[in-house]
């Protein structure tokens, strides 16, 4: 990996939730749900990391754990050389100036009783209470202009805007503190396709102009392909593959990634019909009771007995930053 200090380095992050069974007694031991298991990655300045995976695989939990909004049980979240996990809430709130988030549901992430202008100004009011009056208004106007909203709309309420516009408001709110990293939790999943493109282009432009880093979570591989430098594939809370974008899309190594790629629909009915059917069957196993050994083995076409005994380690299989967690990649991979 590169020599410079990474902006964000996540090391063996683990998030477990306690699940109380139904009708449990107060003294019953809760069951452990491993939402995020030993996830590690690094993110350099100006880079975009795409995170993909099925729903329920821990993408959003990972994002919230990095933000410190969900307690994590083990590992490190190193932000500019400092472990965020060791900080208390007050210190964490301060760090969040540089670390912002954009949410999935554009309308639900805006408080319905506040005007858009107030919503965008809120981070500034929180972290810089001295900025008031005209200066505050100017800053809000500037950022609204930047994300393609009109500043005369700032007295309106979120329900008067379309989904795409609401997402722009969400982005403006994340940008106003001039953060270094924005975690986008499925920012375009709730939008229709033409608006998706607008929002993604907006994010790309902003990234170029402001030198932002992005963590871009999605379940749509084509969206991630458009924006990411690196792509990380999650399965049941585990990283199965983490590779540079071009390499991942050209030569996916892990059987799960290959299956995901095969499942992407081709916008040409003839070719779509000719495509072999996706080779993956079965459902995501319950994270309350994950399979032993390799978590993917229950659905893997290559699985052998060995996979149920030994947990595969995430390794750089090609020496060029293509990390895969599978016992059989060296043998079967190209």
């Amino acid at each position: 990996m590169s020599e410079q200090q990474p902006l964000l380095a996540v090391e063996n992050l683990q998030v477990t939730f306690d699940i109380m069974p139904r009708n449990a007694w107060p003294w019953t031991r809760p069951r452990k749900l491993r939402a995020v298991n030993n996830v590690s990655f690094t993110l350099n300045e100006g880079e975009t990391l795409g995170i993909v995976g099925e729903s329920g695989c821990g993408k959003s939990t990972l994002a919230r754990a990095i933000m410190g909004m969900v307690p994590s049980q083990a590992g490190k979240v190193v932000w500019l050389g400092e472990d965020l996990r060791g900080l208390n809430l007050k210190q964490l709130r301060k760090r969040r100036q540089r670390l912002q988030m954009v949410f999935q549901d554009p309308l639900a992430s805006l408080s319905p009783r506040m005007t858009v202008g107030d919503i965008i100004a809120e981070p500034l009011r929180t972290h810089y209470p001295d900025i008031k009056g005209t200066e505050l208004r100017e800053k809000v106007d500037a950022i609204m202009d930047r994300v393609g909203l009109h500043s005369h709309q700032k007295n309106r309420y979120p329900h008067e805007f379309s989904g795409g516009q609401c997402q722009r408001v969400g982005i403006a709110r994340a940008l106003i503190l001039e953060p270094k990293l924005i975690i986008c939790d499925e920012p375009v999943s709730a939008l229709d396709v033409s608006v998706q493109a607008q929002v993604i282009n907006l994010l790309k432009n902003l990234q170029r102009e402001m030198g932002l880093s992005l963590i871009f979570i999605a379940h749509d591989l084509s969206v991630v392909k458009h924006i990411s430098d690196r792509v990380m594939v999650l399965y049941l809370g585990n990283v199965v593959e983490n590779a540079p974008r071009a390499e991942l899309y050209a030569a996916p190594q892990h059987p799960y990634t290959q299956a995901l790629m095969a499942a992407v629909p081709i916008p040409d009915p003839g070719r779509e019909r000719a495509k072999p059917p996706a080779e993956l069957d079965g459902d995501l196993p319950s994270p309350l009771d994950p399979p032993s050994g390799c978590v993917f083995r229950t659905r893997c076409p290559w699985a052998t007995e060995y996979c149920s005994k030994e947990v595969p380690v995430l390794e750089d299989k090609t020496g060029a930053g293509h990390w895969v967690a599978c016992h059989y990649v060296e043998k079967k991979g190209k």
Partner: protein, 310 residues
């Protein structure tokens, strides 16, 4: 880039539109006000309540009598001289010991309305904050706060009132204290429930991600969003409080002479209903009218504030 060109075009369109149209936002409150205004019974109730308030505040200047002096001239022959009449200027007649009932009702309205409004206000302020904090913080704090609430609401309330009266004597202030102490309990529960469902909304998460202080999240994001429910409940609480005060007064534990309240007047009137029915009818009418109006008002507010729940 294709997208930015298109956007510029749309921007011009938006500009021209904006020149004609107002750019002021249409808040949810404004929508609610419009819906409320279409609810005739609620608007009428609001007008009646406003008149009642004016009556309580200025009604005393319309009559030459006052609420404590006895009309000695009419006293010997109450059954005939004490009937309501415009000629004697006893508009609502005399009470069983010869005092002007009109003035007594004006004064009683003041106490009763004050008890109702103050009780509801205590409930709104304490109950909302208590419930919102308990629900938002959650965990052990929530459990402790809710258990405290249960202990308080399990306390035999009449007993508390009697003890207070016995120790401090009969005093209007004590009624306020007693009513304030119970009125917020249910409100806190309702607000806590609402907060629990709001807490998982993305805009609350967004505020957390921004780094807003938890107390400010409660004040700025949770309270305004539960306020709709709170207002509806508060308007329905006002008549409850008035009835409650009437109940205490009816038992003879309420306000002391020469002051009175609707409950005390009804109690006196009930004793004299066979000889002087007007002593029961007039205070009762006031009470019924007020209760109806507050209930209609609450109804209208609910329709206006939760358009989905109809």
């Amino acid at each position: 880039m294709f997208f930015s060109d298109k956007h510029a075009g749309m921007g011009e369109l938006a500009d021209t539109l904006a020149d004609d149209a107002y750019t002021e936002g249409r808040s949810l409150w404004r929508d609610a006000r419009r819906r409320f205004m279409q609810h005739r019974a609620a608007v009428a109730s609001l007008v009646v309540l406003a008149l009642l308030l004016l009556f309580a505040a200025f009604g005393q200047y319309l009559s030459p009598w006052d609420n404590e002096s006895i009309d000695w001239a009419s006293l010997p022959n109450l059954d005939e001289d004490g009937v309501p009449s415009l000629a004697s200027q006893h508009y609502f007649g005399l009470d069983p010991i010869g005092r002007d009932l009109y003035q007594r009702i004006v004064q009683g309205s003041r106490i009763s309305l004050m008890v109702g409004v103050l009780g509801a206000l205590t409930a709104v302020i304490i109950g909302t904050l208590y419930g919102a904090i308990s629900g938002y913080v959650g965990g052990r704090t929530d459990a402790m706060m809710m258990r405290t609430l249960e202990v308080l609401s399990a306390f035999p309330f009449m007993f508390l009132v009697i003890v207070l009266m016995a120790v401090f004597g009969r005093n209007v202030l004590l009624i306020f204290v007693a009513i304030g102490a119970v009125s917020w309990l249910n409100m806190a529960r309702i607000v806590r429930g609402q907060t629990l469902s709001l807490k998982r909304k993305e805009y609350i998460e967004a505020a957390m991600a921004v780094g807003v202080h938890p107390f400010l999240i409660v004040l700025r994001h949770i309270v305004p969003n539960v306020l709709g429910v709170v207002i509806v409940y508060a308007t329905l609480l006002v008549p409850e409080m008035i009835l409650f005060e009437s109940f205490i007064s009816f038992l003879g534990l309420g306000v002391s002479e020469p002051y009175t309240s609707w409950g005390a007047l009804i109690s006196e009137g009930a004793d004299a209903m066979w000889t002087a029915p007007w002593t029961l009818i007039f205070p009762m009418l006031m009470l019924v009218l007020t209760l109806f109006c507050f209930n209609f008002l609450g109804d209208g507010l609910r329709d206006a504030l939760d358009p989905k729940d109809r």
